[in-house]
């Protein structure tokens, strides 16, 4: 047994290690459990849940791009009720912190979802998705409207005492202004980043490749942008950051932590190698051993600038 401490705190939310699985890239946990031992992971974030089930966008929903992919799933999900009834029982069997990601079109819907889910003790924290670029009928474009984001946080904060994480959009001029609002309104942490808005055309048909026209760009292509956003927040706002964007290996995890992240989420990589998250935990431990680092959390914001 090594006595390396991989645990991290995201504000009051404590994880056994910094490796979380990102919303929309693990479903509700069952498929990925065939490849990774969920009990070893830092946390799992559910696919964004809405009040009612959502069918999502018609195909085509996925386009590959250089070192990245566009998705326009359109928040297809089972809705909070079916989630509680049909998905929670499976997740209850595991000893892994469950984070419920919530997406909604109105402030009321955010509040209602949170309220309904709050009493389920398997759920250890909420991640509020104010930044999904792929829904046409989504009412407000919350993610780009700083006042709307502030309102959502204060209202949701009022109905839950669980850790409240706000997932920020990178498609804004200054992401740190949004992080500041999260802090002001009582949010516990921010996740950065959600996908970048992108598109692609079929040059033969002249139609967008995605039915939804725009999609969200993820994968290694966006890593430099994600790191810059994490760094921007880290330098300007005193709030825990969960780093997300293009993480492919343990070195990327270290890089995000140096840039300011307390924990990280793995997204697109789950599709390519669902065994990677569990393996990375071991690799992080090895890194700590060979660098004589007792607590991995000492890496957070350790940049020398």
């Amino acid at each position: 047994m090594s006595d390396i401490d991989l645990s991290v705190n995201i504000g009051k939310f404590k994880l056994r290690n910094p490796i979380m699985l990102a919303s929309g890239t693990v479903g509700y946990g069952n498929e990925i459990s065939e490849f990774s031992d969920l009990n070893k992971l830092g946390a799992i974030v559910t696919k964004s849940l809405s009040l009612k089930p959502r069918k999502g966008n018609p195909p085509q929903r996925i386009v590959e791009t250089p070192s990245g992919m566009l998705n326009a799933i359109g928040l297809a999900n089972v809705g909070v009720d079916i989630f509680l009834k049909e998905k929670i029982p499976f997740l209850k069997k595991y000893d892994v912190p469950l984070v419920c990601n919530i997406a909604a079109s109105t402030v009321e819907e955010y509040v209602e979802c949170t309220r309904i889910l709050d009493s389920e003790e398997t759920i250890k924290a909420f991640e509020i998705n104010v930044s999904c670029p792929n829904v046409k009928d989504g009412g407000l474009q919350f993610g780009n409207d700083i006042k709307a984001v502030g309102l959502v946080i204060s209202k949701v904060r009022a109905v839950t005492n669980k850790p409240l994480i706000i997932k920020l959009s990178p498609n804004v001029s200054y992401i740190s202004e949004f992080a500041q609002v999260v802090k002001n309104e009582g949010g516990d942490a921010v996740s950065a980043i959600n996908t970048l808005v992108g598109t692609a055309f079929n040059i033969i048909t002249k139609k967008p490749k995605l039915y939804n026209v725009n999609g969200g760009l993820s994968g290694p292509a966006i890593k430099p942008v994600a790191l810059a956003k994490v760094l921007e927040i880290s330098r300007k706002v005193d709030i825990p950051i969960i780093g997300i964007g293009g993480i492919m290996n343990w070195k990327d995890v270290i890089e995000f932590m140096i840039a300011g992240a307390s924990a990280i989420q793995i997204g697109t990589l789950n599709f390519i190698d669902p065994t990677a998250p569990e393996r990375m935990i071991k690799e992080l431990e090895d890194y700590c051993v060979s660098n004589q680092l007792n607590k991995i959390s000492d890496l957070t914001a350790s940049y020398l600038i």
Binding site: G24, P58, Q60, A76, P220, F271, P274
Partner: protein
């Protein structure tokens, strides 16, 4: 579902642009069914990023076979893999063809590369049932009859076999198709699957088709591969998990 790094045994070019790759992968070979597919990572670099889905073309002992044409970067890299190199396979994935139905004659209908899953189906059915195959292509050079048995061909340009599409060819031969005894297995371009569906419904044939979709994961976690369900219009089915083989009546093409 497994992830296994598997050595390439050989890569053979069978047509202008079409390759058969033999891969040593006992775990997958022993656990797969015709109609299932593999999601293959062709390179460790970030580009191409995603795995590429391929039907299991055939299984022989510890070896699996895939058949593919060179479309873009991924299949180009794959085609260059020689003995000594390996591919990273995630599979077997999805639901294969159902062979437990009550039928006596298997009718295979393949358009273009839609032939891919049928060598394995043909092998699995073996001598237990009769097989009639209908193979279509745009022209003579696009006809893929690799490992097919008892087949008729059609080409759009009439350069070989029946002139017209493969569903037309099927209709021409309807006298051979006794409704009570046959089951149709189809794979090919969407337009072909659509007319095969119309045909099967019109004459009330039992018909399963193998469908395609853009995919990211191949095992149900990305929601990237929806297909419209006829039973439940409020929810998409997933090609990777609920398919890729569906009864023609269950999906809107």
């Amino acid at each position: 579902m497994l992830i296994v790094n598997s050595p390439v045994v050989e890569t053979i070019q069978i047509h202008e642009n079409i390759f058969i790759q033999k891969i040593l992968s006992p775990e997958i070979a022993h656990n797969s069914n015709p109609g299932q597919f593999l999601n293959i990572r062709v390179s460790e670099t970030a580009n191409p990023l995603l795995r590429r889905p391929f039907s299991i073309c055939d299984v022989e002992g510890d070896n699996i076979f895939i058949m593919f044409n060179v479309m873009g970067e991924g299949t180009k890299i794959l085609a260059c893999k020689q003995p000594g190199s390996s591919v990273d396979i995630l599979g077997p994935l999805g639901n294969g063809f159902n062979l437990d139905d009550d039928f006596e004659i298997a009718v295979i209908v393949a358009g273009g590369l839609g032939s891919a899953p049928f060598p394995y189906l043909t092998r699995k059915i073996g001598k237990s049932k009769k097989i009639i195959s209908f193979v279509g292509g745009r022209s003579k050079n696009d006809l893929i009859t690799y490992s097919m048995m008892n087949f008729l061909t059609s080409t759009d340009d009439g350069s070989e076999g029946f002139k017209g599409n493969v569903v037309k060819l099927l209709e021409e031969n309807r006298d051979k198709l006794d409704k009570e005894k046959i089951k149709i297995f189809g794979c090919g371009p969407n337009a072909m699957l659509k007319s095969l569906k119309d045909f099967s419904i019109k004459y009330d044939y039992n018909c399963e088709i193998s469908t395609e979709s853009a995919m990211a994961c191949g095992f149900g976690i990305c929601q990237g591969c929806p297909i419209e369900s006829t039973q439940n219009p409020d929810k998409y089915l997933l090609v990777c998990k609920d398919g890729p083989v569906f009864n023609v009546k269950d999906v809107n093409l």
